[in-house]
């Protein structure tokens, strides 16, 4: 099928199969390699993208369901986004594989709830896994971004 979707601020018409995930489509068609598959079943958050601003698991989102909608990946934040900056400043990563998903989840959380406590961050982010265990510094980064 032809998938009409706005990705990171630009309109695209992409080749996609109806049975594949948006994760596979954005990696293959656009080389957006920050969207990464770990669990493949929607529990780890490594493939998180924003669908019309809401964080969703890219591995579970069938491509046709993104038709006519807007997708944001971490590449779309540019690099100077306060959340990206806070993650860099707090060194809130080790291997960095989970980082884009963490940042997108945190981005939406900060838009919804500008005044955050540590417990809020931990609860809201618990759908994103980091096997390196960088959680302490990730919480610091999100709180820093909240206060930026």
């Amino acid at each position: 099928m032809k998938l009409r979707v706005r990705i990171n601020g630009a309109d695209h018409e992409l080749e996609a199969r109806t049975d594949e995930s948006i994760l596979d489509v954005v990696r293959r068609e656009l080389g957006l390699l920050s969207v990464r598959e770990t669990c493949g079943i929607g529990v780890c958050g490594a493939c998180t993208v924003l669908l019309d601003g809401e964080p969703v698991s890219g591995c579970l989102l069938l491509a046709p369901l993104a038709d006519g909608r807007e997708i944001t990946t971490v590449e779309g934040l540019g690099g100077d986004d306060p959340v990206q900056q806070a993650f860099s400043d707090a060194h809130a990563f080790q291997c960095g594989y989970c980082t884009p998903g963490m940042i997108l989840t945190a981005k939406r959380l900060l838009e919804e709830t500008p005044q955050l406590t540590e417990d809020d961050v931990r609860a809201a982010m618990s759908g994103n896994l980091c096997r390196c265990g960088s959680y302490v510094k990730i919480v610091e980064a999100v709180l820093q971004a909240a206060n930026a």
């Binding site: 291997c95 960095g96 960088s134």
Partner: protein, 679 residues
Amino acid sequence: MSDPRATGSARYAEDFELPGMLHARIVRSLFPHARVVRVDASAVPESCIVLTPDDVRDLSPYGCQIEDQNVLAERARHVGDPVAAVAAPTPEQAEEAVPLVEIDYEQLPAVFDAVEAAQPGAPLLHETAAAGGAAAYFAMRPQPGTNICHRFRIRHGDVDAGFAEADAIVERMYRIAGAQHAHMEPHACVAHWDGNRLELWTGTQTPFSMRDDLATIFGIPPEAIRIVSLPMGGSFGAKTFVRTEAIAAALARKAQRPVKLVLPRSEEWQTLNRHPATVTVKLGARADGTLVASQTTCYADTGAYADCGPGVAQKMGFAAPGPYRIPNVRVDAYCVYTNLAPNGAFRGYGQMQSTWARERALDTLAEQLGLDPVELRLRNIVRDGDVYCTGETLHDVRFAECLEAAAAAVRWSEGRRGKGIALVMKGMQTPSRAAIAIERDGDDYVLRCATTEMGQGAKRALSLEAARLLGVDVARIRFPDPDTSLVPYDTRTTSSRSTYMMSRALAEAVRDPRGYGEIRNEGGLDPDTGQGIASTHWHQGAAAADVEVDEETGKVTVTHLHTTTYAGRVVNRLGAELQTEGSMIMGLGTALFEEVAFEDGQVINANLSDYATPSFADVPTRFTYELIEEDGADVHGLGETALPPVPPAVGNAVASLGIEVDELPLKPETVLAAMKVRV
């Protein structure tokens, strides 16, 4: 501008591609032990390349410590053993081709428990002892006619005489479940043949071991192989030695095209896990708490192939007595084949298993003697200049400091109900070699070395150290991905050795007019007596935990977790903190819930929903640690130290409530069962 990890521009092995490459999938055995009698690929579309046992008959068996594994199995020894492989123009076509390969099996008897498998009469996995692999650094002691592929012993003093003078003796059996590394990026590689030269881009901690093993398999000189180790999205010991690379290379050889192989998540559990173990500890002490004898028997379940299991069993064995003065020590450690998926290197490398057993036994002994567990440990703790049961003298010893700091962190002296402490003494790869070359490129310095990056921060640590030694800004240091055709030999990026070993090689290189530095650490143990040098550099640490146990469900909540580790001179502060935090959190997973579950040899929780890893919600509310530092001291590796003491600190804390649990993980049902026989 933000770090590449935050902008999404960081690249991993999984992202590597070559023009015209095919995508591969592995066809795996459905049975734990079976002879492959027929492979029929006639239903597979012609656009696919199929690799069958016939295609790999000219290839040699391999194995980093024992050469007991074939590229494809004609006799499958575990569920998931690779029997065939396919390569197709797209990943989807490869996936669709897998069920079209028809395989007939003739089932054989199987064994799934290491203690059972070590007994005479158990079904044998490998009839003959195979030759030692390229990465074997000690003599193998296979026990002919059994599934024991390596036996390691320590004989020090006279344990029988020691137990005869003991006033109190504790003897218990401990069991530790297998675990999955669950690195977020799967195993991924791309293989390409250029005539008779093999080029391989892969996420590996062991580029030179990989090169040497592939040279053995394909019967070509190591120089005809180029391994580029790309950054890994986590590894924790899983991306070591040959995993998927030989199959990708054999497919590429047949296809005459590059082949990419990325493991689907579920196949990670069929590729490598952590050794389940059964460890029996017997400790004897005088009434005043002086330890007089220690006896340990370890069974490390290495699964269907040895991999580095002999080394894991040996380290499980030599670390078992721990950082205590004990005049009479006996250790018997067995590495045993079973029909489970292979087990190999995992953060903590065998020492987590024996640390759990010993530190739990010490608390039971303290209870029996009516002594405070901290006091019992301090009475026996090794000090600078003491001789370990291997005969080596210990230097730069900080165990007492670590222990006292950890106890203070949880306010041990104010009451110890719900609290537990534990110590770890962990070795580093001995013998080994590290080398580095520094090249000038304009104003920049290029570091050429085989140290790999898996998220542990090795590139950052060594770049900072190079900048310091050269007196330049760190922005002028470049550190390309290791390429075996361009970098000098290094043993491997394992056992928390790289910051310590490679920074010393780096200091040599800075002094050398040609910019080349090389460091070796010498030693090793006699496998029959355990005498020699186990480790030229010991990792030292302690953990303390404060817990609550839900009386109705048995759920353990760690309210405070603390570790104190000896860091010496810290090179990369953020890295040291992150590695310590990560080790503690991984240790909590092992302590509380991580367990590879099997039924009839089949992993039944091979996904990240049924196999849980720690999340934000699992980090204790109070989560503290301390690095003991000293100016001018040696650099001490910190990649693993804070992991092994965490499970016994938690286990001892639970035991302080009268709930004695001897097996890991401390899952609610296990704790609940122990509560019924509460002491």
